[in-house]
Amino acid sequence: MKNLQDKPFALIGVHVGGASTKKLKEVMDRENVTWRTFVDMGNAGAGPIATKWNLSATPTLYLLDHNGIIRYKWAGAPGEKVIDAAVEKLIRAAEKSK
């Protein structure tokens, strides 16, 4: 993923693996995962967020525009090129609307 630090963009995770906050923090520090992540409590894949979002597999990705509208949804990783192109398209639209 390209450097998007100065852009209106955020990567938000939802960890659905059933780990506690403490355990997840350890794993993320160790693996150098820096993005902010919701901790979905409960059994793996069956926490309240995963249940509400009808999650069937990981990774599942949703790309939301600056108004919070779902613009893309991928079950399974679609590849960096596909994500980058979609993100760039939506960032352009977000910047234009300012």
Binding site: K7, P8, F9, A10, L11, I12, G13, V14, H15, V16, G17, A19, T21, L24, K25, V27, M28, E31, W35, R36, T37, F38, V39, D40, A44, G45, I49, A50, T51, K52, W53, N54, L55, T58, P59, T60, L61, Y62, L63, L64, D65, H66, N67, G68, I69, I70, R71, Y72, K73, W74, A75, P78, V82, I83, A86, V87, L90, I91, A94
Partner: protein, 287 residues
């Protein structure tokens, strides 16, 4: 190397064919083919990515060839109880990834297999697992199969699962079509693998009407079949409610439901705090 692989594969198949000639019973032939099918699914050794891709291609081609044999068996013994098992096995391989058709080959047994299932077995009480299985797929035949089972099968549990599976099939298919609108390479793979005419027909469909039908199908599953059980133990009603939520709120074009929760530092936050920014929401799991 690839050529050698194919030669070995053909030898295996001719071996199965000769086993059939010794006046084996339909059940014995089924068992031999089934063994062959299972053996075709495992490489037995760890593979590199390139090897794995080649292996996947060979597995699909091998299974496609075996599928034709399962259909032949069912055609030869239409009244034997094994006929339905053979037909279900012939269509069991549900391709959820559109591998290039050059890699995996065409599944020429599928259309005939579904024709026979619809002709001879549409009232069977054994069709629920197949309904659930094909709900993940994309093929044209799955849709007509699910509709016919829903219409003609006399068993309430089978009807229930056909109803739920039809909604899921239509919903899964629509999501893949949405992705194809953005990715031309993906669209080409779907068209090549599932027929250009069928793909073109799907792209002409009115998306709003498809969504309306998906919602109605899930509503029917909740109202008419809500108490019926799935093999997992959950009820059709529970599952359909969650699918209905997905189609109403979690599809492209809808406002994302808000999420409120704790981050990895134990700090509470909401997804909606990020309005104004493009957000990539990544459901992940550390294994």
């Amino acid at each position: 190397m690839r050529r050698i692989g194919i030669i070995i594969l053909l030898l295996n198949l001719s071996h199965v064919a000769s086993a059939q000639d010794k006046s084996a019973t339909p059940a014995e032939i089924f068992k031999a083919l089934r063994k062959e099918y299972d053996r075709a699914s495992s490489s037995g050794v760890p593979l590199t990515d390139a090897e794995r891709l080649k292996f996947i291609g060979e597995v699909y081609k091998h299974r496609n060839a075996l599928a034709r044999k399962f259909v032949d068996l069912a055609e030869k013994y239409p009244n034997d109880p094994i006929a339905l098992d053979a037909l279900m096995q012939a269509v069991w391989q549900v391709n959820t990834t559109p591998w290039p058709v050059d890699l995996v080959g065409e599944d020429s047994a599928r259309a005939r297999a579904f024709e026979l299932i619809e002709r001879d077995h549409v009232k069977s009480d054994k069709l629920a697992p197949l309904c659930q299985r094909v709900s993940f797929g994309f093929c044209k035949e799955y849709e007509s199969f699910l509709r016919k089972v829903l219409e003609k099968n006399p068993h309430k549990n089978v009807q229930a699962i056909a109803c739920l599976s039809l909604g899921q099939f239509l919903n899964n298919r629509m999501q893949r079509l949405d992705l194809c609108n953005e990715q031309s390479d993906l669209a080409k793979e779907f068209a090549d693998l599932y027929s250009k005419a069928y793909f073109a027909e799907l792209r002409r469909q009115n998306r709003d009407m498809v969504i309306e039908e998906i919602e109605k199908t899930f509503e029917q599953a909740i109202e008419k079949y809500g108490a019926e059980l799935l093999s997992s133990g959950t009820t059709v009603g529970e599952r359909a409610k969650s699918d209905l939520f997905r189609v109403r709120n979690l599809r492209v074009g809808k406002e994302a439901p808000d999420i409120e929760g704790e981050d990895q530092d134990g700090k509470r936050f909401k997804l909606s705090e990020y309005r104004g920014k493009v957000v990539l929401l990544d459901f992940w799991s550390y294994v």
